[in-house]
């Protein structure tokens, strides 16, 4: 009788432990706000959506570098010196430009330091930006659309027969 009770208790404990581990495994890695408030209310849905400005017009590093890059204020100014220069957010922007202070944008997609992610290699593989960044053209404020977990990366790498060697990303 005691032996049966022991087996039942042990099985329950093992089940609980498994459930706990499964819960921990499925918790989000990045607990920060998926759609943080930015210092300037820049609308992607207006620029990339309505006006169809290409992603690469502003994020110029994406084809040649690891990081896509945030455009310098000069890129904004190139158009906004003349376009809509009386709107309050644009006034703020031009003011900032005059004071020579950069805008401190909040990073939405952030990978840990031990991950080497080259944007340019993914563009050369003809991948669409939306695959990871979602429908940016429809977003007023950028929202993180995917969990940047390793299994998710590997799924795509396997599908496209890209390298799944550890040292491809962890160097």
């Amino acid at each position: 009788m005691r032996r049966v009770a022991l087996i039942v208790v042990m099985t329950l404990l093992a089940g609980m432990l498994t459930a706990l581990l499964a819960l921990i495994y499925n918790l989000p890695l990045d607990t920060r706000d998926p759609a943080p408030v930015q210092p300037l209310a820049f609308s992607h849905s207006l620029h990339a959506g309505d006006y169809r400005i290409a992603c690469r017009y502003c994020h110029r590093g994406v084809e040649i570098s690891r990081t896509a890059g945030i455009p310098p204020l000069a890129t904004c100014q190139a158009c906004h010196l003349h376009i809509a220069s009386d709107r309050p957010e644009i006034v703020k922007l031009l003011d900032q430009m005059k004071r020579e202070e950069p805008v401190e944008w909040v990073k939405v997609y952030d990978l840990p330091e031990h991950v080497y992610f080259p944007h340019m290699m993914h563009l050369r593989a003809q991948l669409d930006c939306a695959l990871c960044h979602g429908d940016v053209a429809g977003m007023e404020r950028i929202t993180r659309s995917v969990e940047l977990k390793m299994g998710w990366c590997l799924g795509c790498h396997r599908e496209h027969l890209a390298s799944i060697d550890c040292w491809t990303c962890h160097i």
């Binding site: 031990h114 290699m121 799944i164 060697d165 550890c166 040292w167 160097i171």
Partner: protein, 238 residues
Amino acid sequence: MSRQARFYQWGMVIDLDRCTGCGACVVACQAENNVALVEKQRFAEGRDMHWLRIERYWEGEFPHVRARFLPMLCQHCGDAPCEPVCPVYASYHNDEGLNGQVYNRCVGTRYCGNNCPYAVRVFNFLNPDWPQPLPDQLNPDVTVRSRGVMEKCTFCIQRIRRGKETAKSEKRLVRDGEIQPACAQTCPPGAIVFGNLADPDSHVSRLARSPRRFRLFEDLGTDPSVIYLKGGGHEHAG
């Protein structure tokens, strides 16, 4: 198995006749790979952090003494003793003959370091701490390892990655001599040559066929990717 595997087998040849023991490779390696600095006290305790070190041997009796130098780094063994002992597969072998170390997977059992016959693996006993202005000149392509992680020479994997990326975007294979680890790039007499052993015409393959070749602890059957060329000039002839 990746599709490019058969094209590359990375290897290194170190010509001991050319090595002067200057230590430039040691410094270059330290700077390139964000290797932590270690205090004098810790160094004395044997906790020095070097991915590459120069071993020094004295030969002969005074006054006819000569120093011999041997740069010692991870041999990237084909049959590496460090790999099977890792309980979490942080130490693994990749398709290109490299012996990998995945920092984010390492839990710091140090089995690999203890099983390495070349004693080239180093352990982070503390979080690295660089005095100013050194933190500002860390290599952004290399992870800064934290406490409790084993590390070792990677053949400058970040440079191999970059070389392969450039080659891939130009739709060709990596050219001979295109990729150079920091030590090979720095070596003033050019004693260190790195390249692709799978290509029989590469510089490193041609040197590897030299009659002076030997590998360290060949009898252990580790099948290292680092090939040394015997030094000593006339003294060792015949």
